[in-house]
Symmetry: C2
Subunit: 263 residues, 2 copies
């Protein structure tokens, strides 16, 4: 289930996974299998969807499955990252001082996890479960590639992507859970490439596949390039897609499209 254009510096893979709601062990096993498979393909970074550990539609069970950053699930995945050399960005329910956040973690071997907490919660379902995070635009480094993190609805606001680009991000990683609604296909197919183009960054948008008792997911995960082209795109079913993310290959696009300089 691997596809995508390759030919650059750092291979990034997206898991468009069918998470099992409430089945923490099963979802971790899926992610571990993907990391091991991608390690054999030379992938440096795997990106899994929003709330990948609990499943997005698990409802109140998410409260019980939430963990702190130093909880057992992230520790286990970080240990696999250390063994395989594959970094992981995934969505999970984070418990911090009694408050629940819809968070993304960057795990890269022995390095301390780096967290983004979703700032723009979507709809009543999320607002009933989570507190919004405070925007703190910053990037992490992965073999010199600078990565910013957003979650789902966050990326639909251009105001959230711009500060990451201004902070030097080459790639914006976006675990997401895009339900099948009017507009969802437009978001996946048109808005994600435009976010890449208008900031001259790569955008990796990792969605769920399938359905749970609450939501059906649109799939259509993609890796968009600074010139607005799409390096890899999934269909609607479970898939892994990958592409070489190489900022130097888009130097001409960055020179011609001087949005960050002209703003």
């Amino acid at each position: 289930m691997t596809s995508g254009t390759e030919g650059g510096a750092l291979r990034v893979a997206l898991m468009q996974m069918q998470a099992m709601p409430g089945n923490l062990a099963g979802n971790i096993a899926q992610i571990e299998a993907a990391m091991r498979a991608e390690a054999r393909l030379g992938t440096r970074l795997v990106i899994a969807p929003e709330l990948a550990l609990s499943g997005y539609g698990a409802g109140d069970a998410i409260r019980d499955l939430a963990e702190p950053v130093d909880g057992p699930s992230l520790q286990r995945l970080a240990e696999l990252s250390r063994r395989t050399g594959v970094a992981l960005i995934l969505g999970f329910a984070e418990r911090a001082e009694g408050i629940l956040y819809n968070s993304a973690a960057f795990l890269d071997g022995a390095a301390p996890p780096v967290i983004h907490r979703k700032t723009h919660l979507y709809g009543d379902y999320e607002r009933a479960l989570f507190a919004p995070g405070t925007p703190r635009p910053g990037t992490v480094q992965c073999d010199g590639l600078r990565i910013g993190m957003l979650i789902c609805y966050d990326v639909e606001f251009p105001e959230n992507v711009r500060p990451l680009a201004q902070a030097g991000a080459d790639l914006v990683a976006v675990p997401t859970a895009l339900p099948c609604l009017p507009g969802s296909e437009f978001i996946a197919r048109s808005m994600i490439p435009v976010r890449a183009f208008e900031n001259q960054v790569f955008v990796a948008y990792a969605d769920h596949a399938g359905a749970d008792s609450r939501f059906s997911y649109a799939g259509l995960s993609s890796i968009a390039a600074p010139d607005g082209g799409v390096l890899a795109r999934a269909g609607t079913g479970p898939a892994r897609i990958a592409a070489r993310v190489d900022p130097a290959a888009f130097a001409a696009s960055r020179a011609a499209n001087t949005y960050l300089r002209d703003l």
Copy 2:
């Protein structure tokens, strides 16, 4: 040369004109012919491209062709607007207290003209000719439709569209001159509909056709709707396109996509 989906409140037409560089009388005649033809079709608003009076590529001749807001060309077009009932938005070179601006004017019969001065000048060509305008987000009204104005490169920055939507714009009118460059087709086909969707407004993007001694133009003028759909789109040659712009027809999209409320 008229096409486009219709079925709403206020008919808007775009002139994708082949301006004659430096030929003020000829360009005015083209615009007047379009206004008269559109008056017969029930159009309420015609939008012409950036620097439509001088031609975009007229170079230094633009300095001599620049006029103040109360100059003879705009007065003549406003008089035709009064006689036909067709409002006009067009790009022109504005001279104000000895300074040249790349401006758009809204002319609606006897009402005083309203001006937007391009804030984000594009490239060395424009920067050698014009001073940038100061952002002053505001809207004009045309039979109750609230219209914001931007010019060309302005609309490529999401930061310029958002304040117009927040000021209540239903439609953002964008006279443009999109040269044939890598990325131009992406801007016309992908970015313009995304600007409409992310702000839940209509965007009318009126480009030049053909070529002059300095530039070739991409055409692809369009009217995009709040749901990201395209109501009318031109090809690359001279054309007029039109659509009914009816905010009420997109109430469902505005209710589902609550970007302005959630920002």
